[in-house]
Symmetry: C2
Subunit: 495 residues, 2 copies
Amino acid sequence: MFESAELDHKLSKAEFDAVVPDLRAKLLDMQVRLGRQNHFGVLVLINGVDGAGKGETVNVLNAWMDPRHIRTHAFGTPTEEEILRPFMWRFWRALPPRGSMGILFGSWYSEPILRRVERDMGRAEMDARIDEINHFERMLAQEGVLILKFWFHLAKDVQRRRLRALEKNPLTRWRVTNDDWNHFAHYDRFREVSEHVLRQTSTGHAPWVVVEGADERYRSVYVGRVLLDAITKRLDADAAEPSYAMPVAPIAPPPLDGVNLLNRLQPAQTYPPARYARDMEQLQGRLAMLVRRKGFDKHSLVVVFEGMDAAGKGSAIRRVTGALDARVYRVVPIAAPTEEEKALPYLWRFWRHVPRRGRLAIFDRSWYGRVLVERVEGFCTEADWMRAYNEINDFEDQLAKSGAVIVKFWLAVSPTEQLRRFDERAATPFKHFKITEEDWRNRDKWPQYVPAVCDMIDRTSTEVAPWTLVEADNKLFARAKVLRTLCERLESALK
Amino acid sequence: MFESAELDHKLSKAEFDAVVPDLRAKLLDMQVRLGRQNHFGVLVLINGVDGAGKGETVNVLNAWMDPRHIRTHAFGTPTEEEILRPFMWRFWRALPPRGSMGILFGSWYSEPILRRVERDMGRAEMDARIDEINHFERMLAQEGVLILKFWFHLAKDVQRRRLRALEKNPLTRWRVTNDDWNHFAHYDRFREVSEHVLRQTSTGHAPWVVVEGADERYRSVYVGRVLLDAITKRLDADAAEPSYAMPVAPIAPPPLDGVNLLNRLQPAQTYPPARYARDMEQLQGRLAMLVRRKGFDKHSLVVVFEGMDAAGKGSAIRRVTGALDARVYRVVPIAAPTEEEKALPYLWRFWRHVPRRGRLAIFDRSWYGRVLVERVEGFCTEADWMRAYNEINDFEDQLAKSGAVIVKFWLAVSPTEQLRRFDERAATPFKHFKITEEDWRNRDKWPQYVPAVCDMIDRTSTEVAPWTLVEADNKLFARAKVLRTLCERLESALK
């Protein structure tokens, strides 16, 4: 990986002065085009060895380009806010919206590489991390993000000389810390680990660019040139509207005998109101105690409600929140994405709402919109919703790894009962606002929703995040089942 | 994963009889179209629990379709030929050429799942295997293969009843073995392991289709319908010529200062002929002894020679083979692919020549053609050669895992020396045949080959398969360096 970056690459001052004015002008033009075309965001990762000019290069880029359209994020030790959430949370927040550039100085590569160098991470955990990273970057690429990963490299003797030179100069002495020399003592191991990681994560859609960092003029121009070439090429290609989809094999067709997960359920269940009142009080008390338990500060609770219109999602949610202190939970209603949200990868708007430990987030509709409404209505391509199953599983896996308990409900109402509720809403003045033309249109698409729901349950019911089907024609039964399931899942997590 | 396959799906005899004639006719038409279009091969994997009708379904498919265009491969315990080669070797041999179908009964999934069930494989190794499988299937999909993966499932009580029923019937008793009941004793663990594997390997381009196996009529029609739909859809799509490429970020541009791995070398080295004669004798003897060493039967040796025309590949190879017993080595000259080879994924023609343990294969040019001549001449798309670096690393990784020692030589000749050799060849009658118009055309493309060679070395010099750059203007020096490197690599492997 580093062969070509140990050749003492250099640019003389004269060469540098000759190329820079033109390069800067072209970079600025490119930025204008990027913003005007507004088709994709550019994510620039800056990583590598100490003393190889990472920080200086970021400064140069900001000086050469229009800094209003670049956002630079430096990631050091995680803040408390960040520690209490999944590892990737802080990086999601830093993703560049379409039409702009984000420079990430220290990225999802830094922590695993350093921990592996210090033998604080085993080979298997490292390989699992590499796998997660590859899934994540592939998802970004398929969402249209252009990913440019720079690795700043120095040969061992060059790094030694550079650290010594910085130390000798009173003006730069402050930049060499004990940490730098400690890292240098592990140079060989660091090189071996990072070479492994780079090779495993250098892909066609997100290849590493290794930059020899010794000569400031050389590395600045080289990085500028790579940015210019890569972004210009993509701008030209996007104008030609290429297709970015992997080939898609069709998902399994629905059962031939018409028997499916939904029509096998018995949505109508009996539940005597007197028993409901007693059970509800007990269940709400139980849930309230559970989220106050000491152990809950190591966990969070993520609850997803999905179901056809008028299935009773809202009223079930109110029964859950009725048990809770308003400071610990947040209800997140999911509607069509805003302009801001549309400018970022699909899952971004859900990552925003990931709760910290000790808290709950209740999603009234969720990321499953992609494999439900977006699939049925054709709001995204087949390739998009097909890959969404894996992306969603990865997302929930990361939530679970950070301690989240994930509970997902499909509220199953029968078509007859839905019709009854629609009519009731239409007839009751104060429920009038709850029924729209769109509800009737969705109802017509019931036959298309059924296979989408069954595929969703088959493909995203995982060990860490199983679906619970809730028979919802009887609202009392449904609410009690929801609360009971939440209590049981929390109890088993807090055991 | 199995939710929808535990619903007791059934087809009555009347329903079955009503749909099958039409289904068979359509399957036959589809086969004809597949062969006539001749754009892609179809790979069908058959896996799942015992007694769920895997074998019967394969028979049904062969009965319903034209068996001349389907090849069925059953994979049981590996043969000796197979054990002595990398794990994936036997599956590569079974890949269907374009225009045809291959049914793999028991595939790369069987062995890891069974070993994991029997706790003969840890979690980390399993995850590494899943990763390999995903790389492999993505490569196949990008090479145009349509992959259809069927998993035959039975709920636990259904499997118990089915095994008992088979046992009771004297005609089918033979089909239930002790192994079947042993497997059944591990039903829960088998289900858990296979669910994990299915979920991790169900991708947009190669999703799993789970088939409830209890009812013979149901499962046969279901599988037939999936095949028909999936292949027809792809035939229609291929007619519309879609693009299957992932978005590609450009590879790093060449160094700005013109310094690169090749022009930093000193191709002209001195080597007194007297010393050469002495060294050569000693080195050839050393190599001959090494491949006769007892430990070599756990290894194989894969040697790759690449270099510009007239760099001396042939003569270096003759010095290597001069040391060897003709029964243990094979020289594989790589020219343009044949029609048969073109009908299969790119790496297929190299997998064919993978040596068994205790043997050597010497490649005169190799799989690196994709990132050299094919890149430079535009014989494949940019996306194809960009992903080739990873695919080649995966390939060599699998060779190494099976015990292969991989040694790769780039014979670096200078343009001046090449010209001298060309002229010599043109002037010497018995060397005349060695110089063609194409050699001169390639020489003109030298400037395009240089970055391709540097990228290749940067991106495919791995721990298990590093490149050795050989200064080749002096043939004596080059040959001795080749032999010495081979001896050293073998010695360190046999230590």
